[in-house]
């Protein structure tokens, strides 16, 4: 659906040339929700803006649904853009237009007649759940409602691809979740390919199928969301995964517990997919003469399955504890024995 090959983007500034995007190659499948995560300045924003030609690459090619975006210009590019919609962090609605008129805007650009525009707008207002707000101006809406207008506007020309530029970063957590759910519904209902950029792992966890991690203009890690959660390779990826699985206070608490329970072992178990649903602890207690003290646990749902972590303290004879750990390692779970530093 989207093929990004060897794309580079250089910016000339007073303090020298900046390599915003450095030799990125990605393949995004039709119907998938693809996330790009990175801190600000990682180049993700530049990358997504090249997908609809708002920026053009310094070298390399970008092909979206059979169209060579990187070499398109003028009318050809404008027509391609009608099928590659974008939503924005700050919504970017026209304040001089009502909700209806905002949603209708891309249809006006595409030259759709008035009657068809009106029918389409009514349909979209229902899709995004803004019934009764059609004649409101953006200034009368909440942030979440504004983004719903942004989404409806983006859907008006029946696009094949939806680009989300930090679409939930200006929203509170609850509103973020409702917007993310809407995006998943749209992805499933319309089979729309969604590419989103974010700095929040929560967003990736919640809706993405695959994720690319960007740092200094490069894609440093790429894979299924669940695999990345289970087995992050790069330090930056580990930090992002920790955003979701272990809040900072957990780390501190666990370290404190390790200090406190000098005998036995504190073990971190990671569960992925089906293994999250096995009665593992029951089996552990029945098979071995150890006491299990559950310290902390958390389970998160991703688009490809559940992912969970559990911190337990195993207490008993050292030999028995070792056997218990061996048992855990044999089961399909990640095991990490936490020791005193």
């Amino acid at each position: 659906m989207i093929t990004i090959s060897n794309v580079k983007k250089l910016f000339d500034t007073k303090s020298g040339t900046i390599n915003a995007v450095d030799n990125v190659t990605l393949d995004i499948q039709e119907g998938e929700i693809f996330g790009i995560i990175g801190y600000s300045g990682a180049g993700k924003s530049t990358l997504i803006r090249m997908l609809n030609g708002l920026e053009s690459p310094s070298s390399g090619t970008i092909n979206v649904n059979g169209r060579m975006i990187s070499s398109s210009k003028g009318r050809e590019l404008r027509q391609a853009r009608q099928k590659i919609s974008m939503i924005f962090q700050h919504f970017n609605l026209l304040w001089s237009r009502t909700v209806r008129e905002n949603i209708s805007f891309p249809l006006e650009i595409a030259g759709v007649n008035k009657k068809d525009r009106e029918a389409k707008v009514e349909e979209l207002i229902k899709v995004v759940g803004l019934e009764g707000r059609g004649d409101a101006y953006p200034s009368q809406l909440s942030g979440g409602q504004k983004q719903r207008v942004g989404i409806a506007r983006a859907l008006s020309n029946d696009p094949q691809v939806l680009l989300c530029d930090e679409a939930t970063s200006a929203l509170d957590p609850q509103t973020t979740d409702s917007i993310l759910e809407l995006l998943v519904d749209i992805n499933k209902g319309l089979g729309l390919t969604i590419v989103l950029i974010t700095h929040e792992m929560h967003v990736i966890r919640k809706i993405c199928h695959r994720v690319a991690v960007m740092e200094n203009g490069k894609v440093v890690e790429l894979g299924e969301v669940l695999d990345v959660f289970k087995n992050p390779q790069e330090p930056i990826t580990k930090r992002f995964v920790q955003q979701v699985t272990e809040p900072e206070e957990t780390r501190e608490t666990i370290e404190h517990l390790v200090e406190e329970y000098q005998d036995g072992k504190v073990v971190k178990l990671s569960f992925v997919g089906e293994s999250a649903e096995q009665p593992l602890i029951t089996n552990l207690i029945r098979s071995f003469d150890v006491q299990v003290n559950i310290l902390q646990g958390k389970i998160s749902q991703t688009q490809n399955g559940a992912y969970g972590t559990l911190f337990v303290h195993l207490h008993g004879l050292p030999a028995e504890v070792d056997k218990a750990v061996a048992f855990l390692e044999e089961a399909t779970v990640g095991v990490e024995v936490i020791t005193h530093d």
């Binding site: 609809n52 708002l54 590019l77 404008r78 027509q79 391609a80 853009r81 009608q82 590659i84 919609s85 974008m86 924005f88 700050h90 970017n92 609605l93 026209l94 304040w95 001089s96 237009r97 805007f105 891309p106 006006e108 650009i109 595409a110 101006y137 953006p138 200034s139 506007r153 020309n157 680009l163």
Partner: protein, 222 residues
Amino acid sequence: MIEQFFPNVNWETMWDATYETIYMTIIAVAITAILGIMLGLLLFLTSKGNMWENRVVYVITSALVNIFRSIPFIILIVLLIPFTRFLLDTIRGANAALPALVIGAAPFYARMVEIALREIDKGVIEAARSMGASVNTIIFKVLLAESKPALVSGITVTAIALVGYTAMAGVIGAGGLGNLAFLDGFQRSRDDVVLAATIIILIIVFIIQFIGDFFTNRLDKR
């Protein structure tokens, strides 16, 4: 009663002069608005980081705007006498004042248009581009639509300045209230004529301000 306060005022000439002032103002405002918006758009679009970015065009336009904005109006009128004569074959009457009025006011308004356009959120322009909008669509449906309140309040200020300019234009025999107040009032020491003309000019200014404010508020949905 009115006769008592204004013994020397010939009301018929006063109304004729009022009509001339209003005529000059309305025509000049209309042409200034069109010309100013065109110039302002050119300044905005050719400035750095915008759709028609072009340093040469921007610098030349900007310099011309600055020059004509800086020349005191009374001098501009005199400078433009040959131009006016070439254009209209006369330098007398209300129409003869129009070239000077427009050339004096359009650059002034163009700057206000440019500022108004700069105030538009860049993200909105980008959003329109991402939808596949052409430059024409962006000009009419985004730039002008989103800056409407500022464009209207700008033309209000310009219109009021133009009322003042029409008074000065009396010097080249353009007629109007300024001309009347100067020739009939000041030079013949008839203070009541000056006063009456001033009051009428004030009323015109207040009406313009009122209309301008009304539309600015009506258009502003922010």
